[in-house]
């Protein structure tokens, strides 16, 4: 008996030491992501949730969101150390921080790199965010450390366009020109971590940037691992094989993870607005009464029950709550009234119901929401055919205009213009040369969206945005279902180095202050 006990003790000690070793051996943060593979690390092209956190530690903007904050009123200097604007806000001059080095042998950041980067972001050939930069007239390098931006007209938030987010990220001109399309897998920025290795469908490895201008990172590196299965990621987090992991976005997961010893849950903004975009150019959805029936059959309350109240909150408009210009005064369908919906379909000439096709990602949380909708619509005689594909294929097929109903979850730069322009202005209609993410082919509020952009008076601007939202809601281009915060699991010994309340990159960004105790 004693011998057995001794053996057990010895074994468990050895095992315990073996398991504890990795965390002594290297300060490498292991970050688990719910995706099959990398899409791109090119910050001007990274639009998907799994790709965005990476750009957060590879790149800097001229200014930045404070780590853990999404407050556009509190942007702070990043690559620029100071800036000034002329009286009417059409000419902005940025003074660059001196001695900031790009990763590897790509030298110091100069005004040339900034000019190149912002022009690259404004070019639809090289950027997914080109439409955000329409108002820019010229970007010039006044001298190697000074950049001047001239606008065609004042914009709601110029600083937002040069922040460390989407197109505002500054890339190395030399590297981007040299590497072309390969920049997506061999990115060069100025951030606290730099690319070391990319193993397709497995992981991306980052090394600490010893020359980082805010100081040498406390961690040695990051391993960003692709583990699409929620259960596998959970097991890895529990077993200590991951330090941080993209959570399963529902209440059961949060409750269970919080009750697990050694694990904590980070819940953060921005709330991603979950909408069903209805393709208004595709019969029978081109008939507004059919769209009304679909919207009426959807039960918005049930989605919040399905996801749970820690993460889901009601949606009040077709842009996310908290955006500058948000207006929640227009009533939204989504009553879950199957009877009424049937009546509407009958009146619209479809007494036997309709069939709609939907390309849908296999990511469990999103597929779950689609299945809840499928069951709700079935009660009203609407047969929602789900064509389930992997996440990358989903993103490419919905951009090819191959789905009648598109479930899209998004948060953007928190000014209504961005969301309205990308999702509801006719320039952004998918499968067109200027395409962004207007899946519904909506053109109900083009005039208001454009006029609001150049309206100098903020009250009038807000009124224009409110009217745009009203028109889009009344035209039923999209049905906002609910808004969802983001949940990550983390081992207790990981210290982000900042208060994590929000993260514009839709996942915690590892900074030079982040550490594993």
């Amino acid at each position: 008996m004693t011998r057995t006990r001794m053996a057990t003790l010895t074994l468990s000690t050895v095992l315990g030491m073996a398991m504890a070793l990795p965390s002594f051996a290297g300060g490498v943060l292991r970050y688990g992501m719910a995706a099959q593979d990398l899409g791109t690390m090119d910050p001007h092209r990274a639009t998907t949730t799994p790709d965005k956190p990476i750009t957060g530690w590879l790149f800097n903007g001229l200014v930045r969101f404070k780590p853990g904050s999404d407050d556009i009123g509190a942007l702070e200097p990043d690559l620029a150390e100071s800036w000034e604007r002329n009286k009417d806000g059409t000419v902005w001059t940025f003074r660059l921080r001196e001695g900031v080095k790009f990763h590897g042998d790509y030298g110091e950041v100069t005004a040339e790199d900034v000019v190149y980067s912002l022009n690259r972001s404004a070019d639809p050939e090289t950027s997914a965010f080109a439409s955000d930069y329409r108002a820019i007239d010229t970007i010039e390098a006044v001298d190697p450390a000074t950049v001047r931006i001239t606008l065609k007209h004042p914009v709601p938030s110029l600083l937002g366009l040069v922040a460390n987010y989407h197109g505002g990220n500054i890339v190395s001109k030399k590297a981007a020109e040299e590497r072309g399309a390969d920049f997506g897998t061999q990115p060069i920025g100025t951030g606290p971590f730099m690319i070391k290795d990319y193993i397709p469908q497995e992981r991306v490895v980052f090394d600490a940037n010893p020359d980082y201008f805010r100081g040498v990172p406390k961690l040695d590196g990051i391993e960003y691992r692709y583990i699409p299965s929620d259960s596998s990621r959970d097991l890895a987090l529990k077993a200590g094989e991951l330090d941080v992991s993209y959570g399963r976005q529902d209440q059961e997961w949060i409750d269970k993870t919080e009750s697990t010893e050694g694990l904590v849950v980070d819940i953060m903004r921005p709330a991603e607005l979950q909408q069903f975009h209805l393709n208004t150019s595709s019969p029978p959805l081109d008939n507004i009464e059919v769209r009304r029936a679909v919207a009426t059959a959807l039960n918005r309350g049930e989605f919040i029950q399905f996801i749970g109240s820690s993460l889901a909150q009601p949606a009040g408009s077709v842009v996310p709550n908290g955006n500058l210009g948000w207006d929640g005064s227009t009533p939204i369908h989504g009553e879950g009234d199957a009877e009424a919906a049937r009546g509407m379909l009958t009146e619209a000439g479809f007494p036997d119901g309709i069939e709609l096709s939907m390309v849908q990602t296999s990511l469990p949380t999103m597929l779950g929401v689609a299945q809840v909708a499928q069951a709700q619509l079935a009660l009203a005689g609407i047969d929602l055919q789900l064509n389930v594909v992997d996440h990358q294929t989903f993103h490419s097929q919905i951009r090819d205009d191959r789905s009648q109903v598109i479930y899209y979850s998004a948060a953007r730069f928190p000014v209504a213009d961005v969301f309205l322009s990308q999702f509801f202005h006719s320039d952004s209609i998918v499968a067109t040369p200027t395409a962004a993410t207007n899946f519904s082919h909506c053109d109900a509020a083009d005039e208001e969206i454009v006029n609001a952009r150049i309206e100098p008076d903020s009250d009038k601007q807000n009124a224009l945005w409110a009217t745009a939202q009203k028109k889009i809601i009344e035209n039923i281009c999209a049905v906002p279902l609910y808004e969802q915060l983001i949940a990550y699991g983390r081992r207790e010994n990981v210290d982000w180095g900042y208060d994590l309340e929000a993260e514009m990159h839709l996942g915690p960004v590892v900074t030079e202050q982040t550490d594993i105790d």
Binding site: D234, E252, Q374, N387
Partner: protein, 284 residues
């Protein structure tokens, strides 16, 4: 697997070594098939009806095997899952049997260039492992029950083709077939009246064995997400859905797995029994 019979039809036995296996296997399958057929009468709930207030219920009088993350009754979904899974397996096996036997007899009886071409095509098909071929075909055709049936049928085709071809090859050299030719019977008559009936016993045995494989292929394809699209319940699809919550609610994956196990045992016992009973070497 069986070889072509050497001479004439196999002798009929009153009792053969596979007898017990057949009885047990057949009993299991009768229960399973009845459960599937009468699922609408037996199932306590609508397998597709969701209830946000009854998510993840443990097994109880109301939800015999608990409920899933949509509040759907697991027991009812397994019953309906049996329907799609069994139908897929049966339809694909019958399709493979009909086309494989026809092609095999044509190949074996006709010989020559026709035989070479069909055999070559069949060899190409056989060079892919069954799951890999299944994945490729479903990926090409797109998911869905019909495409799944076609995919499984194509991957099962070689089993029937090879068997029918070798049987036809052996039979066409036999004296009574020569006699038929001398009498001026048409090829069609010789094949349908004298060759096909001789091969049918073997084909049915193989079909039973491959039925189990078809169930397994369907479940595997559904498990990797190439099965019938939601909300359809299939056994493999249920296991896959259960995996999303495996750590918290293991029953959601375990119960449908057990259902697959029972079906596999039933079909395998039946298939093995039939094979033994039909095999002249093991027959007493």
């Amino acid at each position: 697997m069986n070889d072509a019979p050497e001479t004439g039809p196999p002798p009929r036995k009153v009792r053969s070594p596979g007898w017990h296996a057949i009885v047990i296997g057949a009993s299991i399958m009768v229960v399973v098939i009845l459960a599937a057929l009468f699922a609408p009468l037996i199932a306590p709930h609508d397998p597709y009806a969701q209830s946000m207030l009854a998510r993840f219920r443990p097994p109880s009088a109301e939800y015999w095997l608990g409920s899933d993350r949509f509040g759907r009754d697991t027991f009812s979904r397994i019953l309906y899952g049996l329907r799609i899974t069994l139908w897929t397996a049966l339809a694909s096996t019958v399709m493979a049997m009909v086309t494989g036997t026809a092609a095999g007899i044509l190949s074996g009886y006709h010989g020559g260039r026709v035989d070479r071409w069909i055999s070559a095509a069949n060899d190409v098909l056989m060079s892919f492992p069954q799951m890999v071929a299944g994945i490729i075909i479903v990926a090409l055709l797109g998911p869905g029950v019909t495409n799944l049936i076609i995919a499984i049928a194509i991957t099962t085709f070689p089993a029937f083709y090879r068997m029918a071809r070798s049987a036809a090859l052996a039979l066409r050299e036999r004296d009574y077939i020569d006699a038929c030719r001398v009498l001026g019977y048409s090829d069609l008559r010789i094949v349908s009246r004298h060759i096909l009936p001789e091969t049918m016993d073997d084909m049915i045995v193989i079909a039973t064995l491959w039925l189990a494989t078809a169930v397994r292929t369907e479940s595997s394809l559904a498990f990797i997400g190439l099965g019938a699209p939601p909300p359809a319940a299939t056994l493999g699809g249920l296991v896959r859905e259960g995996f999303d919550n495996l750590l918290d609610f293991p029953g959601l994956a375990i119960w449908p797995s057990l259902a697959i196990l029972v079906v596999m045992i039933g079909l395998n016992l039946m298939g093995d029994g039939l094979r033994d009973a039909n095999d002249p070497r093991t027959s007493a």
